[in-house]
């Protein structure tokens, strides 16, 4: 079966999933106490019925729920995610504004954790039982057991306050108007801490996964065959063990895309990273329904995208499918 076909299949399934998500979340969110009008009235520090009524009409909240639902869904199927009355702009623009930041963050964290995870995992397996192995695995365990936000706070205190190596938050030096290389460097500096905090946990998982998987593959017959051919250990590990050992890791990575995107919410909040994760949390507290739904939709789409990517990787490694 061709790659294209596979991706198409995935996409087709994705659409249905996304629609379901829209429906579920729509009712979930409207079940929450309070509404945007209330929030804004509250913030205004003074309000009367007239004021709240105005807002409700403006937001279309005066219509019965099923009407609102119908309007929303029929909009979504035409890729119109609605209008954020709170932010005074179309949800789609709002999200597209924030999406790059999140993509940058999650992708980096994803890539970094996968890469380092595999490298360390290999290293650990190669030194099975020796102190190197113990060191790596205990490190992994440690990161795996540490609350993400906790790492974040500590990282900020250490690296940006005490050492001043990296900025504590944000994703660019505001108003610095860097260009070219400077801008890239600036972005990278800002990216480092958030990506690290978000990545560590997953790195830990991949380390453990890779290690066990490598050890398992090492027991397989074809590895013995390779030895019988007189291949050097290094070659065997690189050419025969690694690729086979990667398969389960890749699968796992795909399964965890959801957690990764979810984790972004915390990271973005702590690091003032202007991504959709934070947007989600803010629009939740503000009951900015459309935005919240939009963010959910997009982040779910991201998860699916991650899955497709890992799928492709898997297929690239494994000729059998």
């Amino acid at each position: 079966m061709t790659l294209a076909a596979a991706i198409f299949g995935r996409a087709a399934k994705a659409v249905t999933t996304l629609l379901l998500i829209v429906i579920l979340n729509f009712f979930l969110i409207h079940a929450a106490p309070g509404d945007p009008a209330m929030v804004m009235a509250g913030e205004a520090g003074a309000a009367d019925e007239q004021f709240i009524q105005q807002l409700r009409e403006q937001f279309g909240l005066d219509q019965p729920l099923y009407v609102q639902f119908w309007n929303y869904v029929s909009g979504v199927v035409q890729l119109d995610l609605g209008y954020s009355y709170r932010q005074q702009m179309p949800v789609l623009d709002l999200i597209l504004d924030r999406l790059p930041a999140t993509l940058l963050l999650t992708m980096t964290a994803f890539g970094m954790s996968l890469l380092l995870g595999i490298v360390f995992g290999m290293a650990a397996a190669a030194r099975q039982g020796k102190w190197g192995d113990t060191a790596i695995t205990s490190m992994a365990l440690l990161f795996y057991a540490t609350p993400l936000f906790w790492v974040a706070l500590m990282a900020v205190v250490l690296f940006s306050v005490k050492l001043g190596w990296f900025p504590a938050f944000g994703y660019e030096s505001v108003g610095a108007e860097f260009t070219g290389l400077d801008m890239v460097l600036d972005r990278l500096k800002h990216l480092f801490l958030p990506a690290l905090t978000l990545g560590l946990f997953f790195m830990a998982i991949y380390v453990r996964m890779t290690r066990s998987s490598v050890l398992e593959v090492s027991q397989m017959d074809f590895v013995k065959t390779a030895r019988a051919k007189g291949l050097a250990e290094g070659t065997i590990r690189r050419r025969h063990i690694l690729r086979n050992a990667l398969l389960p890791v890749v699968t796992l990575a795909g399964l965890q895309a959801g957690q990764l995107v979810g984790g972004a919410v915390l990271t973005e909040t702590v690091f003032a990273w202007p991504g959709i994760g934070r947007l989600m949390f803010e629009s939740l507290t503000a009951r900015d329904y459309n935005t919240l739904l939009g963010v959910f939709l997009v982040s779910a789409a991201m998860v699916i995208a991650f899955n497709i990517i890992t799928d492709i990787v898997y297929r690239l490694i494994d000729p059998r499918i």
Partner: protein
């Protein structure tokens, strides 16, 4: 020490700045949370006014003793019968898009725009009969009846001037111009990087020559309180407006060198922390129970521990910072025994009461927890209800609480800031911020009505003293603290706070010592 110094310097600096100012420089200020919109005519919440206060102006400003000062109006007079207010506007004032600012804009703003959009101003405008513009630079307000506090409403957040040529005949709420606000203020809107920062630049054609002094201002959005503190420490930002960092950090930050702080700039709002108690049902419906609550609370502890010693225990519905305050009322100092007696009288059966904390950060959480403990010690069972901003507004608007924390602005006059919480006419289920406690007392209603329109200050004082005595005895709400939100900034930032509205009143006079 520094506080005192800057304070005195400010009081000089107010009308005619003391020393020569250096021009230029950039100021980074924290804004939290990110404002929903910068159109001050539509949204008047704190963050919006903080930023939009630089863009929009009103006719007047108020010094830290709440005396009117010129702004867009260079002079004004009030007829002796208090029925006519006449304002003479500065000449040569232009909107940021170059259009001239005239009295027509004032009439449009107040009579058309704000009447529709501004809930709080609407209350005051009930007393206004007509607003007219005899010529381009004169505006005349004719009253239905004398309304003492009226001179106090010409502040940017209460009566922002909006451009007629842009809004006339449009759907105000959805006018695309709302995203690129046009005002007359010292700074122009440049860019809004959502979730990151808002960038304002100097208004070159500002009508006061030489002003503003700053070239540009960045309002930085940093969602996490701890990060905001860090940002100030690293010098990422120069100003932390009141309440933008948790109190525990205030102490630490103000102890850093080259850091100043002032409690000034909140006189107009005079935030008054209190807890609505449900006067309709549950244990709190019983006056003695409410008194018991007052006696149970250790408000000094809260001031010293949770607010780091900032602020002053509130003894009355009227803030001691504003006019018409009296201390000739019952003083509820913590007294566990008395509280227990009152509970016995009230026949309290141990039914738990629901405490609704204000979802504005850790401080208020801790406060609720402290109250819970205080109540526990006198034998009142309670549980803290967890909810977010939306849920909180919902619950208090729907009267779904026993005790609900809040803080209200005084707006410089009891008629504007205080009466609204006690008038029985102001009980309306479904909207927050009115008489949520559900206190109803004809006498008090009558007295408030009288006080609002009483001709002389003395007359008003008399009535308000009466009101305070009565209320403090009825304890419809538990008054907690006259909050002080210290503004923290680098000492080389000068004239940051020059009015009773503080940083929210714009950075017209602010400059950085080079």
């Amino acid at each position: 020490m520094k506080n005192l110094f800057t304070a005195s310097l400010l009081s000089l600096g107010l009308a005619f700045p003391a020393m020569a100012q250096d021009a230029g420089g950039r100021l980074d200020i924290v804004v939290q949370p990110e404002p929903p919109s910068l159109m001050l005519g539509l949204v008047q919440n704190g963050p919006t006014q903080l930023v939009a206060g630089d863009i929009y102006e009103s006719l007047l400003r108020y010094d830290t003793d709440l005396n009117p000062q010129p702004s867009l109006a260079k002079s004004w007079e009030i007829s002796d019968d208090g029925m006519t207010y006449t304002f003479n506007l500065h000449e040569g004032v232009t909107w940021h898009d170059g259009e001239p600012f005239t009295s027509e804009d004032v009439v449009f703003s107040v009579d058309t725009f704000l009447r529709e959009t501004h809930a709080r101003l609407r209350v005051s405008l009930q007393h206004v009969d007509t607003i007219t513009a005899p010529d381009d630079h004169t505006v005349v307000f004719k009253m239905k009846n004398p309304f003492g506090p009226f001179i106090g409403v010409f502040e940017a957040g209460t009566m922002p001037m909006v451009p007629k040529h842009i809004y006339e005949g449009t759907d105000f709420a959805n006018n695309p111009a709302n995203n690129t606000p046009i005002g007359t203020g010292p700074f122009k809107f440049k860019e809004w990087q959502k979730g990151s920062y808002i960038h304002l630049v100097k208004n070159e054609d500002y009508y006061l020559d030489g002003q503003p002094y700053l070239d540009e201002v960045y309002y930085r959005v940093i969602p996490d309180a701890a990060s905001r503190a860090v940002a100030f420490e690293n010098g990422e930002v120069d100003v932390l407006p009141g309440g933008s960092v948790e109190n525990w950090d205030v102490k630490r930050l103000t102890e850093m060198d080259n850091v100043c702080s002032t409690g000034k700039g909140w006189e107009y709002f005079a935030p008054h922390a209190m807890a609505w108690m449900n006067n309709r049902e549950g244990p709190t419906a019983n006056k003695n129970f409410r008194k018991a609550v007052m006696y149970a609370m250790d408000r000094e502890f809260v001031r010293d521990v949770i607010w780091n010693g900032f602020g002053k225990v509130a003894t009355s519905p009227v803030s001691s910072k504003t006019n018409f305050y009296t201390d000739d009322t019952i003083m509820y100092d913590q007294d566990v025994e008395k509280a227990k007696e009152l509970l016995a009288e009230a026949g309290y059966d141990g039914e738990p009461v629901r405490i609704l904390p204000l979802p504005y950060g850790e401080t208020w959480q801790r406060w609720a927890e402290a109250m819970k403990q205080n109540l526990k010690e006198v034998g009142i069972n309670s549980e803290v209800v967890a909810t977010d901003v939306a849920g909180w507004n919902q619950k208090q608007a729907e009267w779904d609480f026993d005790i609900a924390f809040t803080y209200l602005y005084q707006y410089g006059d009891p008629a504007l800031g205080v009466a609204r919480s006690y008038l029985s006419s102001n009980i309306a289920k479904g909207s927050p911020w009115n008489n949520v406690a559900g206190y109803a007392n004809e006498e008090v209603d009558a007295m408030f009505a009288e006080a609002a329109v009483a001709p002389t200050t003395e007359a008003r004082q008399e009535i308000y003293t009466e009101i305070q005595k009565q209320l403090v005895d009825d304890v419809p709400v538990a008054w907690l603290l006259e909050i002080e939100f210290p503004t923290i900034y680098r000492c080389d930032v000068q004239d940051l706070v020059t009015t009773a509205i503080g940083v929210n009143d714009g950075l017209r006079d602010a400059w950085i010592k080079q």
